[in-house]
C-alpha cells in the first residue's frame, strides 16, 4: 500500500509528538486548575457539575470522531487514497474510548443529579448505541484477515452506521417521548455562565490536544508498518 504522504508531512507527524505531549499536559494542568478550583459551584447542582468539564468534551469528541470516521470513509471511496482508510481506523479506537468515557462520567454525574446511575433517556440511549456502532466497526476490521479487503468492508459499514445515526436518534427520541416518566429533572442550562465557559473551553482544548497526540502516534504506527512491509517485500 502506498501511503501517498510526502516526506514533509511524515516529518511533521514525527516531530510533532514531544510538542503535542507537552502542550497536552500543560493544557490539562490549566484545565484542572480552572475546573476544580477556579470555577464556582453550580447554584443548583453544587460541585457535582464539575463533572461536566470532562463529560461534555468527551461526548463532543465521541460524536466528532464518528463524523470523521464516516467522512474519511466516504472520501476513501471517492479518492481511493489509503490515507483516508488509515485516518478512519485510527480515529475509531479513540472515538470508542471517548464514547465510553462520556457514558461512564455521564452515569457518575447522573447519580447525584437524578438519583440514579442510569436513565433511559434519549441522549444516553443513543450514545450507548453509538458505542456499539464503534465496537462493530472495530470488530469487523479485526475479524477480516485480508487488510485490503477489511478497509473496504469496514468503510462501507462506517457509512451505513452513519446513515443509521439519524434514524436511531429519531426513533429513540420518539420512543423516549412515549416512555419517559416526567419526574426526571433534565439538566437545565441552555445558557452557561462565563465562569463555567472558561474551564470548559480549556478542558475541550486539552482533550482535543490529547486526541491529536494519540492520532499522530497511530499515524506513525501505520507509517512504520508500511515501511516494515516494504523492506520485507524487497527482501
Amino acid at each position: 500500500m502506498n501511503l501517498r504522504l510526502t516526506n514533509k508531512q511524515i516529518n511533521i507527524i514525527e516531530k510533532a509528538n514531544p510538542f503535542l505531549i507537552v502542550s497536552t499536559i500543560v493544557a490539562f494542568t490549566f484545565g484542572l486548575y480552572f475546573s476544580l478550583l477556579q470555577s464556582p459551584p453550580d447554584y443548583i447542582q453544587g460541585d457535582s457539575m464539575r463533572i461536566m468539564y470532562i463529560h461534555v468534551p468527551s461526548a463532543w469528541f465521541a460524536l466528532m470522531a464518528y463524523t470523521i470516521l464516516a467522512g474519511s470513509s466516504v472520501l476513501w471511496f471517492i479518492t481511493r487514497n489509503p490515507i483516508f482508510s488509515i485516518i478512519a481506523r485510527s480515529i475509531a479506537q479513540i472515538g470508542m474510548i471517548f464514547t465510553l468515557i462520556s457514558l461512564v462520567t455521564g452515569s457518575i454525574w447522573g447519580k447525584p443529579t437524578w438519583g440514579v446511575w442510569w436513565v433511559w433517556d434519549a441522549r444516553l440511549t443513543s450514545m450507548l448505541l453509538l458505542f456499539f456502532l464503534y465496537l462493530a466497526y472495530i470488530f469487523l476490521w479485526q475479524s477480516i484477515t485480508n487488510k485490503d479487503l477489511a478497509s473496504k468492508i469496514s468503510a462501507a459499514l462506517a457509512i451505513v452506521g452513519f446513515v443509521n445515526i439519524p434514524i436511531i436518534k429519531f426513533s429513540v427520541d420518539w420512543w423516549n417521548t412515549l416512555h419517559q416518566p416526567a419526574t426526571i429533572s433534565k439538566l437545565s442550562s441552555p445558557s452557561i455562565d462565563i465562569s463555567m465557559m472558561v474551564p470548559l473551553f480549556i478542558m475541550t482544548l486539552a482533550t482535543f490536544l490529547f486526541l491529536i497526540t494519540v492520532f499522530f502516534i497511530r499515524l506513525r504506527i501505520e507509517i512504520l508498518d508500511n515501511k516494515i512491509l516494504r523492506i520485507r517485500e524487497v527482501k
Binding site: M1, N146, K147, D148, L149
Partner: protein
C-alpha cells in the same frame, strides 16, 4: 474453431503482483497445464480467466472478442475450483438437482454417476463421503453445460489412480470434441499433457 488468447496479462492481489505479462494462445482441442508452487497465482489466473477477478493490465480474447465485453462468454466456459460446490447436509441426488436448476439443463443422474463408477452413492449424504468421492461428484458439474472451455483448478487432488485416468480420458474426449482445457496442477503431468507453462 475457437481460440483463446491471453495477452500481457498482469494482475495484482491487494498490493502483491501475482501475475506478470503472461502470454499464451490456445486453439480448439488444446489443453494447457499450468504449474507453479503454492501461492504462485495459479488459482488467481483461473479466476481472472473466469472474469471473477479484474485484471490490472492485458487482455483476454475469446474468438477475438474481449471477454470482459462479451456477454456470451460466461456461457462458454465451466470453472471447477477447489471448493466442491456441494451441500454437506443433502444427498448426492439433491445436490445434482440443485445444479440442474442453476444450469437449467435436464440430465440423467444415474448415467452421470456411472462416469466415475459411483452409482451406488446416489442416495448418500455428501457429508458421509470421502474427499475423493466429493471431488468426483464436483467434477460431474462439467457435464451440465455445453461449454467450450474448461478451467480445472487442481482436479487431480484427492483422486485415486483409476479416477485420475477416467478424468484424463474425459479431458482428452473433450479435446477431440474441440474443447479447450486449462488445468492447474502441483504434480507433473508432462506425460499426459505436453503443453505446459510455469508461473
Amino acid at each position: 474453431m475457437n481460440e483463446l488468447k491471453i495477452k500481457d496479462l498482469t494482475c495484482y492481489r491487494g498490493d502483491n503482483l501475482v501475475l506478470k505479462d503472461l502470454n499464451t494462445k490456445l486453439k480448439s482441442g488444446d489443453s494447457l497445464v499450468i504449474r507453479g508452487s503454492n501461492g504462485s497465482g495459479k488459482t488467481t489466473l483461473l479466476r481472472v480467466l473466469s472474469n471473477f477477478i479484474k485484471l490490472y493490465n492485458g487482455k483476454i480474447l475469446f474468438n477475438d472478442h474481449n471477454v470482459l465485453e462479451d456477454a456470451n462468454y460466461r456461457n462458454c466456459f465451466n470453472f471447477v475450483g477447489q471448493k466442491n460446490c456441494l451441500k454437506d447436509n443433502l444427498s448426492v441426488k439433491n445436490n445434482l438437482k440443485l445444479w440442474e436448476i442453476i444450469y437449467q439443463k435436464n440430465i440423467s443422474y444415474s448415467k452421470l454417476l456411472e462416469d466415475f463408477n459411483i452409482s451406488h452413492l446416489m442416495e448418500r449424504d455428501v457429508a458421509s463421503l470421502s474427499d475423493g468421492q466429493k471431488k468426483c461428484i464436483s467434477l460431474l458439474r462439467l457435464n451440465f453445460t455445453e461449454s467450450k472451455i474448461w478451467y480445472l483448478d487442481e482436479p487431480f487432488v484427492f483422486l485415486d489412480e483409476a479416477n485420475s485416468q477416467i478424468l484424463i480420458q474425459k479431458i482428452k474426449n473433450f479435446n477431440t470434441n474441440n474443447g479447450i482445457v486449462i488445468i492447474t496442477s502441483n504434480i507433473n503431468l508432462q506425460n499426459t499433457f505436453t503443453n505446459e507453462i510455469k508461473i
